[in-house]
Amino acid sequence: MSDAPPPVLEMRGVTKRFPTGTVANDAIDLEVRTGEIHALLGENGAGKTTLMNILYGLVTPDAGEIRIDGRPVTIRDPADAIARGIGMVHQHFMLIPVLSVAENVVLGQEIVRAGQVLDLGEAAERIRRLAKNLGFDIDPASRVDELAVGQQQRVEILKAIYRNARILVLDEPTAVLTPQETREIFGVLRKLRAEGASVIFISHKLDEVLEIADQITVVRRGRVVGSRTPANCNENELAELMVGRAVSLRVDRGRSHPGEVILDVSGLRVNDDRGQEAVRGVDLSVRAGEIVGIAGVAGNGQDELVESLIGLRRAVAGAIRLAGQDLGHASVDERRDRGMAFVPADRHRFGLVLGYPVADNLSLTRYAETPFATGFAHILRNFRAILAHAVRLIQEFDVRASSPMVLAGTLSGGNQQKVVVAREFTHDLRALVLDQPTRGLDVGSIEFIHKQVVARRDTGVAILLLSAELDEVLDLSDRVLVMFRGRIVGSFSARDAQREKVGLLMATGGAPP
């Protein structure tokens, strides 16, 4: 083995401390071979992204060495990284929505002719060839904002390959993809591997890592805690390495004891932004102490259903009743007052104000109520109460924030979601609507949130759960409904809800064509 070629990429003793005192990377060693898909596995905040930002020249390390093809290199900025054959696909895409695919791909590497005239035709041709090689069905002329998320990701990959990347880094590439798109992107990665490229695949999803990786490096709190190959490990072992303790990947739900109907939706019809009917006559009811899960492929009316439950979108027809009382056009505020709470799907857009301290976010939806507001007409904010409440919830929900005054935007995704969950779960609750409550979270956080959900159920709260993760719906729900094209097309008790049956109904709606 001694005459084997050096690994295409070696990182030795890479260390990065942030001014806040946190050690994001603590003497990390990483070795990636040619033609290898190398998974970097770890919880949110474990330091995966920082390590890759160092590799890409976005962050300067405090110590450590990077070698490419055995030679030590210094990477000062992304241009350096690109020149050395490193390509990066960020979790949040770095595309310009109003430009075409071709324009995005060539950005910074434009082909010019006759002086300074941009030759997009030539570029488009090259991109078309490249896309065909990779098996992408993408028109270089289409505008990026017209593409689906999965296709935008391919544009990012094209961008890297167009710049001759030999080491392709993908940061949580599947977080935004449907299962179908995930399978397709895996095909692409395998193809790249076959052509001799090396792929670094950052993830916290165990099943995906086991499926795609040749080599797995697990990081926890800035350190490498283990290296495995999929052949010599399993999900439980990886989870334990990653979290640092034994984790139960399945929720222990116990028995439910449903009471009277709390949330009752009948004949609900809701339009989407374009005025098309997105929810087409939904009937459902949730009893006290029961979790009802709605499974469905994203975009089948779930968003509109949830928004009309919250009171952000008016129903065209039908009724929503809470404990027998019609909610009518009740405002968001009034619904909360009557004991409803909501965990929104998009925590950055709806759930949090990222520029606010954690403390303000923890009382965001009750900012004008006692004890958070005092004085005439509740006009004065009561900082003492806001802080005390925050300190209590941070403790109770194990939010990793150094102080209640830390800005929410600086927390990891898992901790941000815990802030939302903590806030919503401490209302005086009767009904709880959870939309994608664990999207993008790591196993440890998911386990924690699932336990909290079951605990709320057991205190008699009626819970409606919507999730694109079928497993989450099946694991948590006492009853499973399937939503397809704006209608509920199936209803199962927890016992009868088999993965295949529900999955088929999600995909086809069950009706013969």
Partner: protein, 381 residues
């Protein structure tokens, strides 16, 4: 102790870029003065910029009179800066301070003239209030339009600036023209003039402006309404989800912003100008935007930014007299300050600043509102 230090660090974080932008603007304007010195003197004078800045400072702070002039020039800028800054907090770009200033000045002039013979204890507050209310009403219009129809406040306030100037010219020429003058103007304000507190011209408007700084700060930081305004500015979707009322807040913020703009006009009218005539300058309106940007929309920051701009205005005449450097250099410095604020990358490069916030969020409001998420409309149905 640690609390003190963390407070100091926070101030440093917010103030670094503006302070360095000012320094850089002085340097760059110094180059301009140096180069243009060839035109006025026999050859280039490398000491001219220093001499000019020295007399600028002496003019602004070197004497009791100078300081008074600085404060008098700063007072309307403080109020105008607060008007723009409050808008920024709600994610709104109020370019309409110029119009609100004129409307406030006009209303104060008319009310003041009516009460010219009344006791000052009645005339002064009523005239000030008239200006503030007129400004508020004028600010409400773009606020209402934005809230109801999504009409962009930048467009509506710019148009309303012109509408205000022209309407008021007509009003003062045909409706409230005072008899006995050769040109169109309002009557003397008599007892409605702001009392002079100190010296020749330190009028009541100066402490009033300082009080408003703390009033706005209190509103934003301590009250639920201020919290709602800021939340709508930072994330309107999250605000709606939290049960807040973006539509109402938009209208309310523009109204309050107009109130402050009107107040700026009122104190300038009652404390300095004395009567309304067509073509009175509303440069305060546009300088206010610069003040708000430089003060990072923070009331205290705005106070200091307005003092700086006031000092420019107060010190410039002496600079021109003593060094022949024209007053217009002040406009160059002001423009450069804003330029360097916008292009903070330059400031970072020059001074190798790594701390501080990545972008000046107020400028994001200026640019983003155009392409960003559409109107803050009512609940979709």
């Amino acid at each position: 102790m640690t609390r003190l230090r963390s407070a100091a660090r926070r101030i440093w974080q917010v103030a670094t870029i503006p302070l360095l932008a000012i320094v850089l603007a002085f340097v760059a304007a110094g180059v301009v003065i140096f180069v243009s010195s060839a035109a006025t003197s026999p050859g280039l004078d490398p000491f001219l910029p220093f001499a000019a800045y020295a007399s600028l400072m002496v003019g602004a702070f070197g004497s009791g009179n100078g300081i008074a002039n600085t404060l008098v020039a700063a007072a309307p800028l403080v109020l105008g800066g607060l008007a723009v800054g409050l808008g920024f907090k709600a994610g709104l770009f109020n370019i309409g301070v110029a119009g609100q200033f004129l409307v406030g000045a006009f209303a104060a002039a008319v009310a003041g003239a009516q009460l010219a013979a009344a006791p000052a204890g009645l005339a002064v507050p009523v005239a000030i209030l008239a200006g503030a209310i007129a400004g508020a009403a004028f600010g409400f219009v773009p606020g209402y339009l934005k809230a109801r129809t999504g009409a962009h406040e930048v467009v509506t306030t710019i148009m309303l600036n012109n509408a205000a100037a022209l309407l008021l010219t007509w009003a003062v020429s045909d409706v409230v023209r005072a008899p006995g003058f050769t040109f169109a103007r309002t009557a003397d304000i008599g007892n409605s003039a702001l009392p002079i507190l100190l010296g020749r011209n330190l009028h009541l408007g100066i402490p009033l402006a300082v009080v408003m700084v703390f009033a706005v700060r209190w509103l934003l930081d301590r009250t639920t309404i201020g919290f709602e305004i800021r939340t709508v500015g930072q994330n309107p979707s999250a605000a709606r989800y939290a049960g807040m009322r973006p539509v109402l807040m938009t209208a309310l913020t523009m109204t309050l912003s107009g109130l402050l703009g009107g107040l700026a006009g009122a104190i300038q009218m009652l404390g300095v100008i004395g009567f309304y005539a067509p073509g009175i300058t509303a440069s305060v309106g546009f300088d206010s935007i610069a003040v708000a940007l430089l003060g990072r929309s923070d009331p205290i920051g705005i106070l200091f930014a307005a003092l700086l701009f006031g000092a420019f205005r107060a010190g410039a005449p002496l600079m021109q007299i003593e060094t022949s450097v024209p007053i217009e250099v002040i406009d160059i410095i002001q423009a450069l300050v804003i330029l360097f604020l916008a292009a903070d990358v330059v400031v970072r490069r020059v001074f190798r600043v790594r701390a501080a916030r990545p972008v000046i969020s107020e400028l994001a409001t200026v640019t983003q509102t155009w392409a960003g998420a559409g109107p803050v409309g009512p609940a979709k149905s």
